[in-house]
Symmetry: C2
Subunit: 429 residues, 2 copies
């Protein structure tokens, strides 16, 4: 019997899922692949609290070195998270001759480069399918299935918390605050949801996606990101009326000169676009490539069991193909330039709250004109008597730098109440 | 420089696409993988007609044996189609020590078993990602990404012609005939579209999907299939009004006792289901599995370039992982029983044309009652004065055998005009 020995480090949500799948399906997996995935160790600082799965005592340890010292362990699964101990663990595992599987997007996006070089040097695999899109096999698809294609752009919904909140707002007309509470109640948002809500999580995932899609090294600091914290229900309803739905998109684009755009921000997605139908905790990655055209990959982007399927797939890829260290996802061969946000172009949705007086539209339009921004539509919803009324505009394609300058100037006009809201519109669709 | 030598046999639509990608991207592919895919031979009976790509004369031959005799050829790409010569070609290639990549679903579904056994014996890979869903990486996903999961059901739109026709009917209110002509004009239907329209093509693809998804050997004759030839615009419009869209679905399901349903037929898909948004020539495969949950894979299911990306991905999978014959998709380890259609259960849409007289509904309802079929809804659209009026019913879950018997009995009633139309409703959604 061929086996592959596994140590799972981090006995939390995903770790429990991996243990569960191995306990339930190891004999089936052996039938399918000829290799039995054998759980040797489960490592955690806390090995006494009850979990959703039971692990025999002899396999539990608080000391990861015990697992690393076991020669029967071929794969170390890093599920502790964070950028400190996780780094050390992966480094020591590779140096100790183990393959590594991880779901740690923040670590890979910010400190991955060195670890991948180390893996290469040690002729070991460092796989990370679970780091983006949970159980959606997007990294394999980009690296292996599209090896004979050229990706032009990615549009991805890769954060379940924000997608849950935005969906809840749109479908149930909830405020952002209420929608977030609902997400927390249902387990789709953390107690402290900051890193999800502000786009940080999606930005890390975009960095990983873009590295593979564009075969490039890149610095996480080059990814521009904005969150959904300031999206008001009002904006979602205006957008709906205009045929759009608001999504937090992670966008990676390569232009003709091989310069990249890497940005995460709320985006107006046309309602007939596939991404508009990705609701609640679901994720999806839409890929535009030269030969395949548009393709999309959809599924649960988080959660114990979905994410665990990706971890197990990585373990078995190693078992089947990486004994010689040859199953790799990460293999950039260039360093493409990333454009600054000032350089990008987009169409824009802008929502003002203005005093209800004459000449407002003319003054705004004249500032847009000055910056070469042409207006595509104006919407002034009828409103009950209040001093401040909404005014919604969309623009044709404009340069972000011009837009930013125009917005600064408009914001200083005396009839502008509140902060002006600007949301980019998904391009080319 | 590591290379992999390739012979493309069949210089038609897909063959030209493969040649095009290799000509355009081979240096890029080498950068990505470290292996240069080198086109050595293009074989076709006709090597003189102009193609969309140019191949130097020295690489063109009408004699496949010339390509097989070349020791620098490691992979033979079979793109001739059909079940005769293609079989011989694959057999001789494997026996000659070549790996094989094919897009030939009919051959694999009906005569694949022996070829896979031969490949195994020869320690060569026989890959076929392009046979289902064109460039959508669905076979890899099922075999490798879901290796640690258990698939319960597949719902797939895998025939571009019929999906084009149904979309055209629904969105432009065309008759089936006009929609088909439009599809032919646009190149999405063949001059003789029989094997697409009658479900045969989708059935072959379902057989391949099910073999991988359920890890089972199966006979193509166990796949039940019906086409869309009899779908009337009227049915599509009634369905729309009831919140459904009509799709030709390929359905594979495994029940608790590991018995399978394998069926291709027009199906009412709820409009909020992801599959309802798969329009025109696009394909999508929705997978329900125990751990990942619902996932979906969407893209172009046919055409020269999309399909060629899958062929090139297979070639490079062989180059990277199969020098030892170990990158396999096909590895069934059981033979599951397939249920007869009489045994399945479903909800049903039924459309009658009846004489506009009293007592009609009562008589129909009484026959349904006799067979234990309970009615979920009745719709009798207002109609201009004609002697025959439509009557649309949906049922709750019922057994197909009972349904068939009830329909036979109802069809004999004197007030029934025309043939009764029955369309199954997508379950569990």
């Amino acid at each position: 019997m061929k086996t592959i020995g596994i140590a799972v480090v981090g006995f939390g949500t995903i770790g429990s899922g991996v243990v569960k799948i191995l306990q339930d399906l190891a004999p089936l997996i052996e039938k399918r692949t000829g290799i039995y995935p054998e759980l040797r160790w489960v490592v955690d600082k806390d090995i006494t609290s009850p979990r959703s799965v039971k692990v025999e005592k002899a396999k539990l340890t608080t000391d990861y070195k015990e697992a690393l010292a076991d020669p029967s362990v071929e794969v170390v699964v890093e599920l502790v998270g964070g950028k400190g101990f996780a780094y050390t663990l992966i480094e020591e595992s590779l140096k100790g001759g183990k393959h590594v599987v991880t779901a740690n997007k923040a670590l890979l996006a910010e400190r991955g480069q060195k670890l991948f070089m180390l893996a290469k040097e040690m002729k070991k695999s460092l796989l990370f399918e679970a780091s983006v899109g949970g159980g959606i096999p997007i990294l394999r698809t980009i690296s292996h299935s599209l090896v004979g294609d050229r990706i032009r752009a990615l549009y991805a919904i890769v954060n379940g918390t924000t997608n849950y909140v935005l969906t809840q707002m749109a479908l149930n007309k909830s405020s952002l605050e209420d929608a977030l509470k609902e997400a927390q109640r249902k387990g789709f948002a953390e107690a402290d949801p900051t890193l999800d809500m502000n786009g940080d999580d999606a930005a890390h995932k975009l960095a990983i996606l873009a590295t593979l899609a564009f075969h490039t090294e890149l610095d996480f600091s080059h990814v521009h990101y904005e969150g959904i914290e300031h999206i008001a229900l009002e904006d979602i309803l205006h957008a709906e009326r205009m045929g759009y739905t608001v999504k937090l998109l992670a966008i990676g684009k390569r232009d003709e000169d091989n310069r990249l755009e890497l940005r995460v921000h709320p985006t107006l997605v046309p309602k007939d676009n596939q991404l508009a139908f990705v609701h609640y905790e679901y994720n999806a990655i839409l890929v535009e490539s030269e030969y395949l055209g548009t393709s999309m990959y959809y599924g649960k982007g988080a959660g114990s069991h979905p994410t665990a399927t990706a971890v197990v797939a990585d373990i078995m890829a190693i078992a089947e193909h990486s004994r010689e260290g040859n199953f790799e996802l990460f293999r950039p061969y260039q360093r493409l330039e990333v454009k600054s946000m000032d350089e990008i172009t987009s169409r824009y949705y802008i929502r003002f709250h203005v005093l209800d007086q004459t000449g407002v539209l003319a003054q705004i339009a004249s500032i847009f004109g000055k910056y070469g921004i042409s207006i595509a539509s104006v919407l002034q919803p009828e409103q009950s008597e209040t001093t401040s009324v909404p005014l919604i505009m969309t623009t044709h394609e404009a340069r972000e730098r011009n837009m930013r300058q125009a917005m600064e100037e408009i914001s200083r006009l005396s009839f502008i109440q509140d902060k002006v809201m600007m949301i980019r519109i998904m391009d080319g669709h």
